[in-house]
């Protein structure tokens, strides 16, 4: 029998799940800066990363406020250890090639956009305000990633093959977006953050439509990885944090 959760504790967790997912994906996408196949895509990737990191400041800023222990968004981003991160496993997957990066983006955007739309009705007005702001940006992310998945999937034999490989490899990491635990249930019951599985119909519909147009086939495989939202991560996240956090770890609280 689940113990009743303190709602503020659950809210802090829930906000970290949102903010850590945008932070980790934002950092991953920023790794492309200066390396993308063409200049326009380089700039587009950097802009998407920027939006995600901006949204992170809002989510983690609110998380720190809710926690009330004197931490702020930077402190949460740069001074927590890997097991304190609550991001989805999908977003910590390494970039792979350009197609792999876009497939990961699309699978996430297809969840992110309807989730933000639903969060606009949150009973917590602070969350509703952030979601309304972020949702406008993410609508552009989803249009772009969906368009490019279609263009590359329904492209040359080479691009099609790479997109299908990316889909096969990333698919087992998509289920976690729609899985619930006690924290999710407490927040959904309080009308603060919708239940993850309530996003399922919209995610399924968008993904099916785009994959069909892209001539790609979702794997039949039913097994789904989980644990990121509870702090159990793949080895990739620790490596990423070592790069992302080294400055603030080496020189704590320094300003310039």
């Amino acid at each position: 029998m689940a113990v009743a959760l303190d709602l503020d504790v659950a809210l802090f967790e829930g906000l970290c799940r949102l903010g850590d997912s945008t932070l980790v994906l934002g950092h991953r996408v920023s790794e492309w800066c200066g390396h993308a196949p063409v200049l326009e895509e380089d700039i587009a990737l950097a802009n998407v990363a920027l939006d995600l990191i901006g949204q992170t400041q809002l989510w983690l800023g609110l998380a720190a406020e809710v926690e009330g222990r004197g931490r702020d968004a930077d402190r949460l981003a740069f001074r927590r250890d890997v097991w304190d991160f609550r991001n989805l496993l999908l977003v910590e997957r390494p970039n792979g090639d350009f197609g792999h990066t876009l497939m990961r983006q699309f699978l996430f955007d297809a969840w992110h956009q309807p989730m933000l739309k639903a969060l606009e009705d949150s009973h917590d007005p602070r969350i509703a305000a952030i979601a309304a702001k972020a949702g406008k940006e993410v609508a552009y992310h989803l249009e772009r990633s969906a368009d490019l998945v279609i263009r590359l999937g329904d492209g040359t034999a080479e691009s099609h093959g790479r997109m299908q490989t990316a889909l096969d490899r990333l698919w087992p990491y998509t289920g976690e977006m729609m899985m619930s635990d006690d924290t999710d249930r407490a927040l959904a019951e309080a009308g603060i953050i919708p239940a993850p599985d309530s996003i399922r119909p919209q995610w399924d519909a968008v993904v099916a439509e785009v994959l069909a147009e892209a001539t790609l086939k979702a794997p039949d495989q039913a097994y789904m990885h989980k644990g990121g939202k509870q702090g159990t991560h793949s080895e990739h996240l620790g490596h990423m944090l070592a790069t992302m956090q080294w400055l603030q770890r080496a020189y704590p609280d320094s300003t310039w």
Binding site: I43, D51, L52, E137, L142, R144, A146, D147
Partner: protein, 168 residues
């Protein structure tokens, strides 16, 4: 205490750091100017969540007002309602066009994948006239241009690349 109308006048002369031909009031990001006791409170909303100009904009506003002798000043952030390109003043749109940036076409913001799909199926892509030659034969190069708020376009007639200040 300085009259609020005077403060608005001063703010109308504070340029956007990225696009200096328009001011912070042209952009519609100054949401309120009011007194809290004898402290002047200027409420600003960010354009995009991650816009790096946000910090610079606050700094420029503070610098401009302090230069006018305002010493009791507080800047506040307001997220709700989220900033929209609908708030760009008509004068700002003319200034953007003259500067070489196509102004936003109201009501054409991204709605998510559905709008994109309709565009793909019907070919009803957005027509963004070239700010240099006025031609409507233009094409989108990338959803994201030199900053998050712009998309990259190219004119098929005069061949010039240009930024489109996209709707949000």
């Amino acid at each position: 205490m300085v009259a609020l109308a005077q403060v608005w006048d001063w703010l109308a002369k504070v340029p956007d750091p990225e696009i200096p031909v328009i001011s912070v009031t042209d952009l519609g990001i100054v949401r309120d100017v009011a007194y809290d006791g004898d402290t002047l409170v200027v409420t600003v909303t960010p354009t995009y969540s991650g816009c790096p100009a946000t910090a610079v904009i606050n700094f420029e506003i503070e610098k401009a007002l302090r230069a006018q002798g305002v010493d009791k000043l507080r800047l506040e952030r307001r997220l709700d309602p989220p900033w929209s390109t609908d708030w760009l003043t008509p004068a700002a749109r003319d200034k953007l066009r003259a500067y070489g940036i196509a102004p936003p076409i109201d009501g054409t913001g991204a709605q998510g994948v559905v709008a994109g799909r309709i565009n793909r199926l019907t070919g009803a892509a957005l027509v963004v006239p070239c700010p240099r030659c006025g031609s409507e034969q233009t094409q989108k190069i990338s959803q994201f241009g030199s900053t998050p708020c712009k998309a990259a376009y190219q004119c098929r007639d005069c061949l010039e690349p240009f930024d489109y200040f996209k709707c949000i």
